[in-house]
């Protein structure tokens, strides 16, 4: 076996180190370009052409996506407006491409702030699917993590851990719940800082591969951004999730009950609104999450009530009566401060 010097091979990015192969590569690329260019040029529109936007909207299924969101999410006007804008940008970008104007993908990293139970995680899940359907994400899965999944226990543990999470989220959406815990003000040697630095790097270099969503309470998020200006500047969309009104919560309750195969009787709805008004005034109210708990308790009381009857029919099984809610401790005058009150 002899050892002749091989001719420089094309292929791996690393071969660019040798100038000879770089030239060959460029020439080959040019050759390919020349082969493809006429085809590309044909599909380009002349600069005085007019494009039918409505048809393109239909083709991309944008209206379908937006109607789905409108129906499935109660309230959240800001979120819906932002989605509509993103969808519009997608359509416009497609048209621009047809005129030969190429644009970088928009920065999609987001920050969701709001009280507990205002739908941050739910929206993130929807957002992943939507961005996938709009063509911004390749796969559209959601990887939901907290500090524990990103930050390691000892020196050298954090980087591989964070990178593993990032790799899993590639092509989808990385949802970091209560992101401010990544940064501990009181301990400057905390490993969270390392994790933040890796995240920043990935948010910058892999913009096409994943979307990072940070979520948490508004005030703590502010503190977090103030101590990490790099993070703040890389996030383009700050979306606030306001607390729901009683009407919105009632509609959410309706939808949750329907999902479980129940329906409110007409009078129940009135009692439910009274319940929500009382419950909102009490501490530890968690918006939609409290509604879910209330419905769970109603199911239990309904089941107990039905067992006392001799027979039941389909309507009985489906219907939640005011009585099922009135047993709640929220309606009792002497509510103490302990225990659950849903």
């Amino acid at each position: 076996m002899s050892a002749p010097t091989p001719p420089a091979r094309l292929g791996f990015g690393m071969n660019q180190r040798s100038p000879q192969s770089t030239i060959e590569r460029t020439e080959q690329d040019n050759g390919q370009d020349n082969g493809q260019h006429p085809a590309g040029a044909e599909s380009l529109l002349p600069s005085d052409a007019v494009v039918d936007l409505a048809a393109l909207r239909g083709e991309l299924g944008i209206d379908q996506v937006l109607t789905d969101v409108e129906q499935e999410l109660v309230g959240l006007r800001q979120v819906k407006a932002r989605l509509a804008e993103l969808a519009a940008l997608l359509v416009v970008d497609r048209v621009r491409e047809r005129f030969g104007v190429r644009t970088q993908r928009p920065n999609l990293h987001m920050c969701f702030t709001g009280s507990p139970g205002t739908g941050k995680t739910t929206v993130a899940m929807r957002m992943a699917v939507l961005l996938n359907r709009l063509g911004y994400l390749r796969r559209g899965h959601l990887v939901s993590v907290t500090r524990d999944d990103l930050v390691g226990q000892y020196v050298g543990h954090t980087a591989p851990k964070t990178r593993e999470v990032i790799k899993r989220a590639m092509g989808g959406l990385l949802f970091i719940d209560e992101a401010y815990y990544l940064y501990r003000v009181d301990n400057e040697r905390d490993y969270g800082q390392e994790s933040i630095e890796i995240l920043l790097q990935v948010m910058e270099n892999h913009r096409d591969d994943l979307v990072v969503v940070l979520a948490g309470y508004a005030d703590r998020m502010d503190t977090f951004f103030r101590s990490n200006p790099g993070m703040a500047s890389r996030i383009a969309h700050h979306i606030d999730f306001p607390d729901y009104s009683v009407d919105e919560l009632t509609r959410i309750g309706d939808m949750m009950a329907a999902e479980l195969g129940y329906a409110f009787a007409e009078e129940t709805r009135v009692v439910f609104q009274d319940y929500l008004r009382l419950r909102r005034a009490q501490p530890r109210f968690a918006n939609a999450r409290s509604v879910r708990n209330a419905i769970e308790r109603m199911r239990l009381r309904q089941a107990a009530r039905l067992l006392e009857q001799k027979t039941v029919d389909y309507t009985d099984l489906r219907t939640l009566l005011p009585v099922d809610l009135q047993g709640s401790r929220v309606f009792q005058a002497d509510v103490d401060d302990s225990g659950d009150r849903d």
């Binding site: 076996m1 091979r9 790799k167």
Partner: protein, 141 residues
């Protein structure tokens, strides 16, 4: 001498797009991937160093490419390969394995003959690269 091994040994080296396509195929079959590197080109050297842990639960090829590029940056003059494991037979089985980086210059091998008792000839492949200590092989001098 160009070292060849693994699944696509008869093809020219892959571009990053082609690597991505192969990784996507592996992921679509549910095979976890791992990145390995070495600077010992001997064909019997099957134990390459692992670059981090095998990557489970991935959905997208971009994550694997990220590791490949990290390994290329750390070891620009080493061989780097990607392995895909198929666990469905119930044991660790390599389903796909191919080289994604090779040194710019590969000096190749020398055949040594050793005459033993009864004029029996033993053959041995000697890699020129291994004449330098590990880590310094393939470094452009």
């Amino acid at each position: 001498m160009r070292i060849t091994q693994g699944t696509f040994s008869y093809l020219p080296d892959f571009t990053d797009e082609e690597i991505t396509a192969q990784v996507r195929y592996a992921l679509s079959n549910g095979w976890p991937l791992s990145v390995e590197f070495t600077d010992d080109p001997h064909p019997r050297n099957i134990y390459w160093e692992m670059w981090a842990l095998p990557m489970f639960d991935l959905h997208d090829a971009a994550g694997v490419l990220m590791e490949v590029n990290a390994c290329r940056t750390a070891y620009p003059n080493h061989y780097v390969r990607i392995n895909a494991y198929d666990a469905s037979p119930g044991r660790q089985t390599v389903a796909l394995s191919f080289i994604v980086q090779r040194p710019a210059e590969e000096p190749g091998f020398r055949l040594d003959r050793h005459e033993g008792s009864n004029r029996q000839i033993m053959y041995r492949a000697h890699s020129y690269a291994t004449e330098r200590p590990s880590g310094e092989r393939y470094r452009p001098s």
